[in-house]
């Protein structure tokens, strides 16, 4: 089988490269971000030719992961991909009622703030239109996603134009798929499929 260009470049086999990543926690976290983006790209790609004209992936600081061109809209829809939050504590990180997991969490803040402006760590509502949450860390299937419109997410308590740091992510089989319990979000829904027509 032909070598991947990275194997040739780095003089390591794919197994050595992936083992090296797997052994380093921070690298694994970074790779999991990339894996989720790769899986989200597949979701978008399936819509090309119908709901989506074309899309681009971006690997840039302070810019959403995808811009998606849809018919009848001059500017692209911007989409951000996040992994569901997980921790090593027993049962993992989640919202629970009576010990039972009722929802997951996703963190919607940047890794760091700009100097002198702590609130710059929070995403503004205008920064992207769609959030795709990969729930692979919970379900074991990294193609499992929930999508939601950014305007339907919880607002930051102190900065009304910014997103709250942690958002509620419904379970894939939940009956109530609202991202928030607030009245203003009564019709908002998470969706397991990407919808661009709302």
């Amino acid at each position: 089988m032909a070598k991947h260009p990275l194997e040739t470049k780095y003089g390591l086999t794919s197994a050595e490269l992936l083992d090296a990543i797997n052994a380093r926690f921070r690298l694994k976290v970074a790779l999991e971000g990339a894996v989720a983006e790769h899986q989200m790209a597949k979701h978008i790609d399936r819509l090309v030719g119908s709901a989506v004209e074309r899309y681009e992936h971006h690997d840039l600081d302070s810019y959403p992961d995808f811009s998606i061109r849809i018919p009848g809209r001059d500017t692209p829809l911007l989409a951000e991909c996040k992994n569901v939050r997980e921790s090593s504590k027993a049962g993992g990180e989640a919202y629970r009622v009576g010990g039972k997991v009722v929802a997951y969490k996703v963190e919607t803040q940047k890794t760091r703030a700009a100097k002198g402006d702590p609130s710059s760590r929070y995403y503004g509502f205008e920064q992207y239109h769609i959030l795709g949450v990969c729930v692979g860390k919970k379900t074991g299937d990294w193609s499992d996603f929930l999508f939601v419109r950014t305007i339907d997410l919880e607002r930051h308590a102190d900065h009304s134009l910014k997103l709250a740091v942690v958002q509620r992510v419904q379970l894939l089989d939940a009956e109530d798929m609202r991202p928030s319990k607030s009245e203003s979000h009564a019709t908002a829904q998470y969706s397991t499929t990407l919808r661009t027509n709302e």
Binding site: G11, V35, D59, G136, W142
Partner: protein
């Protein structure tokens, strides 16, 4: 229970995973550190049984170092790995430089005490510099003893933040060596 492989876990093939990395320059840059560390581990392991009696690799807060027990020495020495890069303003085949930084968890209040970002010679005794970004050969290294490296002009008990390397195309000049066994020999003669 056996852990699923990284490929099984993410539902992607090796080629897809490597392709995902290849498309993301920022991720690739981070991964290059582990590539250099893997090559340094392999290189050190090749000396176990000759100059090295025991070798341990440790990954503390994402920063890897090695404990090396040289033959006939009770106390291990510590080694770290950095990646050489070419300065933007250097001319072709000009001097290459490497950077030294400690990780944030060791740095304390960096703004108030900038010297906390600098390494002291007590932090590690051997520095391995991977030349992969310059020569495209990621198993090519230069090594130096930290006691032989330049000190910071304002903090003489710390190493300078940048160290100039000899051009990889010419013979290594002191304190640099392409052969880590030479440094091991030097440490036996000059502890």
């Amino acid at each position: 229970m056996p852990q699923p492989s990284i490929r099984q876990r993410y539902g992607l093939t090796s080629d897809e995973l490597l392709g995902t990395i290849d498309l993301r320059p920022r991720l690739k840059a981070v991964i290059e550190r582990s590539v250099a560390e893997t090559h340094m581990t392999n290189l050190l392991a090749s000396h176990v049984g000759s100059s090295i009696s025991r070798l341990e690799a440790s990954n503390r807060h994402g920063s890897m170092y090695w404990l090396i027990w040289l033959n006939a020495r009770d106390q291990p020495i510590r080694a770290r790995c950095k990646i050489a890069f070419r300065r933007q303003n250097s001319v072709v085949n000009g001097p290459n430089k490497i950077t030294y930084h400690v990780s944030a968890h060791d740095s304390g209040n960096v703004l108030e005490f900038p010297e906390n970002r600098l390494y002291g010679t007590e932090h590690f005794q051997i520095l391995g510099v991977c030349l992969g970004r310059i020569t495209s050969n990621w198993s090519e290294f230069l090594f130096a003893r930290t006691i032989d490296l330049a000190r910071h002009p304002d903090f003489p008990h710390k190493l300078a933040a940048f160290h100039q390397l000899p051009s990889p195309s010419i013979r290594a000049v002191k304190p640099w060596s392409k052969n880590i066994a030479e440094l091991f020999g030097d440490m036996m003669r000059r502890p």
